[in-house]
């Protein structure tokens, strides 16, 4: 069983920058053993401003192990094929804003999975927007 994530970044900002292309295999903390649990792929539709939990750690059906090698992928996929890059959704951890995903933007981030460290989403506007996500973790 393996879970892999590959990133490719290209940019013409700086002359001579040849881009970034890297891959990782998601493994359990401090080992070469593949990570073995996931929430599966999910979406959350938002239609109001205000922070709400995307992932409530204490409510996961299977308790994730704390402070190890969990990763989450999140993407703002717009709504019904319309992706607005001018408005965004602020992603937070335990009420701390991490940054804003504008339409089409995605992120991959490590997580502590501590119960207090819920993942929150807070849209700029009340326009409907859909967030897709998948969490990979180790069972407690």
């Amino acid at each position: 069983m393996a879970t892999t994530a590959t990133i490719s970044i290209s940019s013409d900002i700086a002359p001579g920058f040849s881009g970034i292309s890297e891959s990782m295999t998601l493994t359990q903390a401090g080992t070469l053993i593949d990570i073995d649990s996931t929430t599966g792929f999910a979406i959350r539709k938002l239609a109001a401003t205000g922070a709400v939990d995307l992932v409530t750690m204490a409510n996961e059906l299977v308790e994730p192990k704390d402070s190890v090698a969990a990763k989450i992928y999140i993407r703002n996929i717009g709504y019904r094929g319309t992706i607005d890059k001018s408005v965004g959704v602020t992603i937070g951890v335990n009420a701390e804003p991490i940054g804003k995903l504008y339409g089409g933007d995605w992120m991959v981030m490590p997580l502590t999975c501590i119960d207090a460290d819920d993942i929150t989403v807070n849209p700029d506007t009340a326009d409907t927007v859909v967030i897709e996500y998948v969490l990979f973790y180790e069972e407690a």
Binding site: M1, A2, T3, T4, A5, T6, I7, S8, I9, S10, S11, D12, I13, A14, F17, I20, E22, M24, T27, A29, G30, T31, L32, I35, D36, S37, T38, F41, S67, A69, A70, K71, Y73, D84, K85, S86, G88, T90, I91, V93, N94, E96, P97, I98, G99, K100, L101, Y102, G104, D105, W106, M107, V108, M109, P110, L111, T112, D117, V134, F136
Partner: protein, 137 residues
């Protein structure tokens, strides 16, 4: 317009049917649809175990659309860095792991701090942004 594109492919066979997700985005300035991020910082550092370090020395303009990439290039899988933003622990990047996040640097405390554990961690990072407060000489 400067153009920065970030793409990801995620595959997993943990489910009964293999999962494969691909996504690509063009990194735009905050609130715009026609103007791309136009500044960047790209670096590589080695951080001794136990050392806490702000990965970005200058503070980019707050609440913009900055994107931050960090990879732990350590080849020992037991080595890791802890990533903290504004005193909030985010998670750990073990040897070989990478992350890519929007980073809004919403106030002076919102630096991205990393602490190395296990040994000297080799860290590559890139920040794509639209302006920063430079430190006067």
């Amino acid at each position: 317009m400067a153009t920065t594109t970030a793409a990801v492919t995620l595959t997993s066979d943990l489910l009964s049917d293999n999962m494969s997700v691909s996504a690509s985005t063009t990194c735009m300035k905050a609130g715009t649809t026609a103007d791309g991020l136009d500044q960047m910082e790209y670096g590589y550092v080695e951080i001794a175990s136990g050392t806490a370090y702000d990965i970005i020395g200058n503070t980019p303009t707050a609440s913009k659309a900055s994107k931050l990439y960090i990879k732990n290039h350590s080849t020992d899988e037991t080595y890791y860095i802890s990533v903290v933003l504004d005193a909030q622990a985010i998670g750990k990047l073990y040897g070989g792991d990478w992350m890519f996040i929007p980073a809004d640097f919403h106030d002076a405390n919102a630096d991205v701090e990393i602490t190395a554990t296990g040994g000297t961690n080799k860290i590559c990072y890139a920040l794509f942004h639209e302006g920063t407060t430079l430190v006067a000489s």
